[in-house]
């Protein structure tokens, strides 16, 4: 699946996007664990919001092949 990073998170990781294989039935929480071990700066990052296919998602949201997952800090538009 595709993982997208935005704003300060993108800057901290030096990465806007990557792809990742996860076992079927994996949830957002497992994805976050995998990403934290892959990217140490993620561990102390602070509050993160998660969206799956352009919609906010909770930690127990199931993931499927082809999903686009976005991770980003609290928003500040307006």
């Amino acid at each position: 699946m595709r993982i997208l990073y935005f704003a300060r998170l993108r800057e901290t990781l030096g990465l806007g996007e990557e792809t990742l294989e996860l076992p079927d039935g994996a949830e957002v929480e497992m994805l976050l664990r995998t990403l934290r071990s892959r990217h140490p700066p993620l561990r102390g990052f602070g509050e993160l919001l998660v969206a799956v296919n352009a919609e906010y998602a909770s930690l127990d949201r199931g993931l499927r092949e082809g999903d686009v997952v976005a991770l980003f800090p609290p928003v500040s538009g307006g």
Partner: protein, 137 residues
């Protein structure tokens, strides 16, 4: 009408579209890039967007406002990219039969946008660039 725009939006154009609806009131909120924040001068502002999701989230917020307050139509225009102090960052217009619902729906869209739309501001100051995260009144 929901748009992310990279040049200063035309309020006249947005107003024109709403006036055709023969409504009695249009409430407006116009957000401007401020010149200082917490005692620091701001030289410019950058706005980053997760465009696909921002458009969808703003569309959802617009739909909620129309349904909750029974207003006719709402327009949201948000800038992305680099902005100068004094430029327009956000325009919200709400057209309604009467003023009270128009003001309420306008406020609702503004507060929900600040809470939910995946947009981020980065303030360029003489001491460096600072990401704004979360609500700042």
């Amino acid at each position: 009408m929901i748009r992310l725009v990279s040049v200063e939006p035309s309020i006249d154009e947005a107003l024109g579209e709403l006036r055709l609806r023969r409504v009695g009131a249009i409430a407006a909120f116009i957000g401007i890039v401020r010149g200082e924040t917490e005692g620091r001068a701001i030289e410019a502002l950058e706005v980053e967007a997760y465009e696909e999701m921002a458009l969808r989230e703003l569309e959802r917020i617009r739909g909620e406002a129309l349904e909750r307050f029974g207003v006719e139509e709402a327009v949201v225009l948000h800038r992305v990219g680099r902005l100068k102090v004094g430029e327009i960052i956000l325009v919200i217009l709400v057209a309604s039969a009467h003023r009270d619902e128009a003001f309420k729906a306008c406020r609702y869209i503004l507060e929900e946008l600040k809470r939910r739309a995946p947009l981020w501001k980065r303030e360029i100051t003489p001491e460096g660039a600072i990401w704004v995260e979360g609500e700042r009144a």
